[in-house]
């Protein structure tokens, strides 16, 4: 058996010593970190690429349209042949309307689902419901778009007769439905990562499940929950197909949700799939709008970052 001491009386250490200092091993150790760093740097290049892509054309745009008119104007009529105006506030307003409605729909429902799944549902229920919700998150937005236009809007029109066929409400609700799983799933993750021992501690004091959920688990998972909401918001801000299909194309700076709107993303799609001549002001305007959108989501992401850093839970 092993009594032969590994053939020829060699000990394991001898065998190890023999194969020590293979060249390949050393080179791998040295080069891998460099290769990995290069891979990591690609994400930085991507951002640089995005910023440069947007900035050059945006710069061109501001040669033609004054930056103050753009930032503070409330009229967005770029196609008006005689007197085009580029007041981005109208588009921002459309974007915000949809986002706010989506958040109003998604946060309570998403959180309810998260709490139910993490605190009440049986393990089996959780394990089957969560993936189904993830399917909901994976439904392509174009599918949601038609759902909004051909299903949700007609139903809403029954309830609200003054509702236009294109409006902020329907896409807002559907974007909300789309981000429910995101909030539910990420918040559920945050809540289930609160250790069970902490739950047991509360239950052992005679707390009901609801009290455990609201007073112990929720606060403990707060930063995860808030970041999930912020991420969902930035998803709603950047949502494109739903609003292009169901939101309409009439940007206006008002607070009505029953009338037609246009969001920043919908405008970009409109022009991308439209007839704007290459090199026209309209062509450059999509980059300016894209840049504005980029800034918006950047702010949201920095916010999420700040929140999860500032309120990081420790247990």
């Amino acid at each position: 058996m092993a009594s032969q001491d590994l053939r020829n009386g060699q000990s394991i250490q001898d065998l190890i010593a023999k194969s020590r200092n293979r060249k390949g091993k050393k080179i791998t150790e040295k080069t891998m970190p460099i290769l990995l760093f290069i891979a990591a740097f690609i994400s930085v290049l991507t951002t640089i690429g995005i910023v440069f892509t947007l900035i050059f054309e945006t710069f061109e745009f501001f040669q033609r349209v004054s930056i103050t008119d753009y930032l503070f104007g409330t009229q967005w009529y770029p196609f008006s042949g005689n007197n085009p105006t580029f007041g981005v506030l109208a588009l921002i307003m459309g974007t915000l309307k949809v986002t706010v409605i989506a958040v109003i729909v998604a946060v309570p429902i998403g959180l309810a689902a998260a709490i139910y799944l993490s605190e009440y549902a049986s393990d089996r229920a959780r394990r089957s419901i969560k993936p189904v919700l993830e399917v909901l998150a994976g439904v392509p937005t174009i599918v949601y778009g038609f759902f909004a236009l051909t299903f949700v809007t007609p139903i809403l029109q029954q309830l609200i007769p003054s509702l236009k066929i294109f409006n902020a409400l329907s896409p807002g609700i559907v974007v909300g439905i789309m981000i429910i799983p995101m909030i539910a799933s990420l918040s559920e993750d945050a809540m289930s990562s609160v250790p069970n021992s902490i739950r047991e501690g509360a239950l052992a004091l005679g707390a009901t499940k609801f009290e455990v959920a609201i007073k112990v688990v929720l606060p403990a998972a707060l930063s995860g929950i808030i970041s999930s909401i912020v991420l969902a918001v930035s998803r709603a801000l950047g949502e494109t197909m739903i609003v292009s299909l169901a939101g309409g194309a009439s940007p206006s700076f008002d607070f009505s949700v029953t009338g037609s709107i246009q969001t920043m993303t919908a405008y970009i799609v409109q022009v991308s799939s439209g007839d704007a001549g290459y090199g026209t002001t309209i062509y450059y305007s999509i980059y300016a709008v894209g840049f504005t959108l980029f800034i918006f989501t950047l702010i949201m992401n920095l916010l999420a970052h700040y929140i999860s850093k500032r309120f990081r839970e420790e247990y």
Binding site: E29, S43, G138, V143, I180, L298
Partner: protein
């Protein structure tokens, strides 16, 4: 001098229990609402599209007549595009995750990379479309090819994969690494033989979910200007192609109402695709979830 008065506690107990019950019902309603949305969505799509869904639909090219229209080019195109996205995004994503979790020291550059990744995750897909058009289609002259679209989509889902891989790598207990180092293993050996094998289920799950997002994305393809009228399959990486969401979007815009049903049939295919991918992800997750 007891502070907790038993009779008060008992009196409140009823309200507390009722509160618990009614909130539970409310939470359940929320969950069911979300599920109901999915059901309605699916039922509508299936009832609209099932009539056009048959083997011919899968094996024919698009056509001017709804009866003969098929999804072959888009389906194969999407699959080919996946074949580019999967390796590109996973190699880049996992490498980045390994770098950040195992090698990156705490310094400004690495903080910036981390920050940058979480920001990228929130950049709208349409902006990635603008990037792809400017960089891959135009600057690198790849044209509206598989490669250009594949790269664009890879970058789009890269942050998601990085984050998933980072989490999976982080979940490998420190003790495992210590055990490996303790045997005299080098860092790279520890990574390839201990960390990655343990992290692979998590990485795969995250990646598959990210990939399934990539097949459904429409906006970047619209911006890049992927063709929809074509009757051939891609024969090289630089070949033009079309993809499922693009084909669906095109059909849905057609004047004939029948094309709306054809679009629904296309959506069914797309959703099947997604469900299969999600199931694989769930299978992997459940199979390997309890390990340590």
């Amino acid at each position: 001098m007891r502070y907790i008065d038993d009779s008060v506690v008992m009196k409140r107990m009823k309200t507390r229990l009722n509160k618990n019950k009614s909130w539970k019902a409310l939470f359940l309603t929320g969950t069911l609402f979300a599920l109901l949305c999915l059901v309605i969505l699916l039922v509508r799509i299936v009832t609209q599209g099932i009539g056009y869904l048959d083997w011919d639909f899968i094996t024919s090219f698009a056509s001017r007549s709804p009866e003969r229209a098929g999804i072959k080019a888009a389906l194969i195109g999407s699959i080919y595009m996946m074949c580019i996205i999967a390796p590109v995004s996973m190699i880049l994503g996992v490498s980045t995750a390994i770098y950040l979790e195992e090698y990156a020291k705490k310094n400004k550059i690495n903080d910036f990379i981390r920050m940058n990744i979480s920001n990228l995750a929130g950049v709208p897909s349409i902006v990635f479309g603008l990037l792809g058009l400017t960089i891959f289609v135009r600057a690198l002259a790849l044209g509206k090819s598989l490669l250009a679209a594949g790269f664009t989509m890879s970058l789009l889902i890269l942050p998601v994969i990085i984050v998933a891989a980072q989490e999976a790598i982080r979940a490998v207990p420190k003790e495992q690494r210590e055990a490996s180092y303790g045997m005299g293993a080098t860092k790279w050996q520890t990574i390839t033989r201990v960390v990655l094998p343990a992290a692979i289920p998590g990485i795969l799950t995250g990646s598959i979910l990210a990939l399934s997002r990539a097949i459904g994305e429409t906006a970047p393809l619209v911006v890049i200007g992927i063709p929809v009228i074509l009757r051939f399959l891609p024969d090289s990486l630089l070949s033009e192609f079309t993809a499922l969401p693009m084909q669906i979007y095109d059909w849905a815009k057609r004047p004939q109402e029948e094309f709306l049903y054809v679009a629904s049939a296309g959506i069914i295919i797309l959703m099947l695709f997604l469900v299969i991918m999600n199931s694989i992800a769930i299978f992997i997750r459940n199979k390997f979830s309890k390990r340590y």
